[in-house]
Amino acid sequence: MKFIDEFRNSEIAKGIMREIERLSQGRKFRIMEICGGHTHTIYRYGLHDILPTNIELVHGPGCPVCVLPMGRIDGAIAIAKNDGVILATFGDMMRVPGSESSLIDAQADGSDVRMVYSPLDALKLALQHPDRKVVFFAIGFETTAPSTAVTLLQAKRLGARNFFVFCNHVLVVPAIKALLDSPETQLDGFIGPGHVTTVIGSKAWEFIPSEYSKGIVISGFEPLDMLQAIYLLIKQLIEGKPKVDVQYTRAVRPEGNPKAKELMEQVFELRETFEWRGLGWIERSALKLKPDFAEFDAELNFDLPRRRVPDPKVCQCGAVLRGAILPWECKVFGTACTPERPIGACMVSSEGACAAVYQYGRYSRKVRELLQRKTAEPFS
């Protein structure tokens, strides 16, 4: 496929790897890849195994399914249980555990929960079923929020009175600021999220070098993209000139996508605060519907439990999302918590760090040894 195959050439990868090795010699680097899509690429292509050992990749909070606290899943399940409601959501959300059950359990219990590919498909459901209330369980970062905005504007234009949005859109920049302000975080730089940045623009990351003196390279999602981004980041760190660099130039512009930002502005406003799994409450880090769209706002039109539910004690998703531990260091990784029976959200979404390691990385020597030790002595 064009724009994909060219960025998967293993011979070029070997060459870049050599350059990274040569350049990084004699120094340790701790780099966070913010986006779950990048985590997926790292494990799928085994980049973690071929990078020199002085470069440590830490996984960031860029998986919208993973950062949603259990209370919000409970909220979606409560909405789905209402008579006559169709709850529509992305496939990734179906198996995420709430405090008592997941949406797939709710579906088995008779609630009408449907997977959709696009928010527009949810609106289509509402138009096809005027006698039902259709609620779209909206999740995602700035990449996804503009699509929900367009869908809401269309719902308003069409007067779709039976369409609602349960808005859980969150913003990446405030989360990264919160991480950088935490004393726990020891990082040299970031691999920045390519697709979020196609919308918000590379200028949005200027605070990383200017306020925190750290580097960031916005990267594409193919293995060669990521290797080049790592090379560029190490280069700027060695030169002692941290800056915002863009590797994904074929899709990222300094100003992002102005039209998408403008449409988001029309529909959403900032929440004062929002709870992130693992990161806690972060001010102005999530979106809600503007008062003009109150008639579509599921939070205003349905009874929600609004409970704050702590994560199960054995689950260490929070620490994984903060980059404080690596997935296989979690007590239950690969033993009590697997993609078939997940305890935490990081094991559910294909972009969750735990699911990525479980699927592709657990055969690497380091992970296998740790897992064998853990199976012999679970919960030790």
Binding site: N9, C63, V150
Partner: protein
């Protein structure tokens, strides 16, 4: 979740509702182009949850591939030298 795939616009299906048909690796489907201005047949776009979120710049892609090849070149040359 933030997965987006490159696709080529093959037809403007509905100008008023901003729907275009794209080819994604041989599969054709309708997507919304409401987030972009001036989408034309032949344009490459990134598709995420049924929406084109950004155009893909072919020239920039070529430039990146050139840079990647240059970056990997010393290794290739070393291999050649070893081969004698």
């Amino acid at each position: 979740m933030c997965l987006a795939v490159p696709a080529q616009v093959v037809e403007i299906v509905d100008e008023e509702n901003q729907i275009a048909k794209v080819d994604i690796g041989g599969v054709r489907r309708n997507i919304s182009v409401a987030l972009l201005d001036d989408v034309k047949i032949g344009d490459w776009v990134l598709v995420h949850v049924g929406f084109a979120i950004q155009k893909v710049d072919e020239e920039e892609a070529e430039r990146t591939i050139e840079l990647l090849k240059q970056l990997g070149q010393p290794y290739e040359e070393e291999l050649k030298a070893l081969g004698g």
